[in-house]
Subunit: 298 residues, 2 copies
Amino acid sequence: MSVTVVGSVALDTVETPWGRNEEGLGGAATFFSLAAANYTTVHLVGVVGADFPKQHIELLQKKSINLDGLERAAGKTFRWSGRYHDDVNMRDTLDTQLNVFEQFHPKLPADARKSKYLFLGNIHPALQLEVLDQAEPAFVALDTMNLWINIQLEELKKVLARVDAIIINDSEVRDLTGHRNLVKGAAAVRALGPRVVVIKKGEHGCLLFHEGEFFSAPALPLENVVDPTGAGDTFAGGFMGYLSQQDATDFSTLKRAVVHGSVVASFTCEKFGPDRLMEIGPGDIRTRYEQFERLSAF
Amino acid sequence: MSVTVVGSVALDTVETPWGRNEEGLGGAATFFSLAAANYTTVHLVGVVGADFPKQHIELLQKKSINLDGLERAAGKTFRWSGRYHDDVNMRDTLDTQLNVFEQFHPKLPADARKSKYLFLGNIHPALQLEVLDQAEPAFVALDTMNLWINIQLEELKKVLARVDAIIINDSEVRDLTGHRNLVKGAAAVRALGPRVVVIKKGEHGCLLFHEGEFFSAPALPLENVVDPTGAGDTFAGGFMGYLSQQDATDFSTLKRAVVHGSVVASFTCEKFGPDRLMEIGPGDIRTRYEQFERLSAF
């Protein structure tokens, strides 16, 4: 089994009260891939500029991520820079430079088109539609953001009508549906298309809604959060990676997939960028999964 | 087994977007007692004024709550009034009239002194100390609020040094310890005395910290929250009621107690004041407990 992800590969500059990470490896597709690679074969589709450091490519290759779909375009790599405060749930975006991403149109290589599982990272809904036109996966999940909800709602609704799952945070549910109540919000999101709705609540864990059933997954209470950048993308990677590994999307598998997403996301926060993700392997994931079992069993 | 609770009995006027409840039965000790009475014998210690309606007394008696410690003083009953908004996590206190509560000094009748389990409701820390001087329970839990943390910290610390458990919400942990991170905050609270720290996070459930172990209990995602007044006190009642019923305070029992607290609190929110609590019995609690099991099992 394999999973294909389409999304950003970036150079991130992150400031936190505990330090600064200058032009580190970042981007939604990067974090997704590094997480999912623990479970399944990953095809990454995205674009970088001529300035993208060779050691970052090597790092992705080291995790056996298939980069046939990673274009190298003339120009500069997408850059994002942000600052976190004492309350790591709050961050300011200091700068976003789309660069090569501005002209990007995803092209899925033959193997990437064959993946049974597809993740549409947080990119313009029109690009997400272009991806859907190139493949016929068995299970598609989508990420989006407030920007597209606010300025591209009609396009986004076309995408929503064609996906199986959405992974979304609580404030985005409110923006998309007008409901503060997440039970009502999830029902309204499901009415737009996806049969599976995963709502991320940051340090409060996440909720999974699926055909009248729901599941609440805790977040691991962490004593030291160094850098939460990429935690959400890592969550999606663990979630989709596990579904692909198991090749199943029933409620019981979806629940365990949500916990695997939470497990890998908890690692991401422990060091800057993907540093912690580069260190972990199946044994670490298994140990922390058991910690999540103990955390919520009664 | 039995549990004794000391706290307010009040007349609450509550406005929500869905209606208004004028001078309804309220107060922390009331909600606590109605919840705990599902599990164990409850001794309520508090005070009401001459104007306290007879039907409220009858209602408490109907749930077999022992009212030997409920003084009836000359003057008016404690009154609280508040307004909830569309986001029911936000409320404004419109008015607080202490009335007979202003001169209140708790006096525990003989049977109330003998309870092995004692809950100190959210009253002035000096009164909480007076209660502790009258009894020698095996297990004492404490509630408090930002007001006492801000203006009576030294008295409060004396209380904390003498209790086994504290039930506190996340913002109070920050006020009391300065830590936004709840793992650090819980450790700082434990350093002040209580070996058990329960942190309520409203719609996000709660965390239990106990000797280096922790547990995360989900909240039931509710579609319709009519009135959350008393949910926190009900939580404490379910928690202490279950501990008293089981007569145990090991980690495993504490975890189930936290879930029982969440179960009864979820009922409270479904109608105004204690209306929903008056309807439920052991069968309803068992059914919803099983719902919580399904909600968090994976």
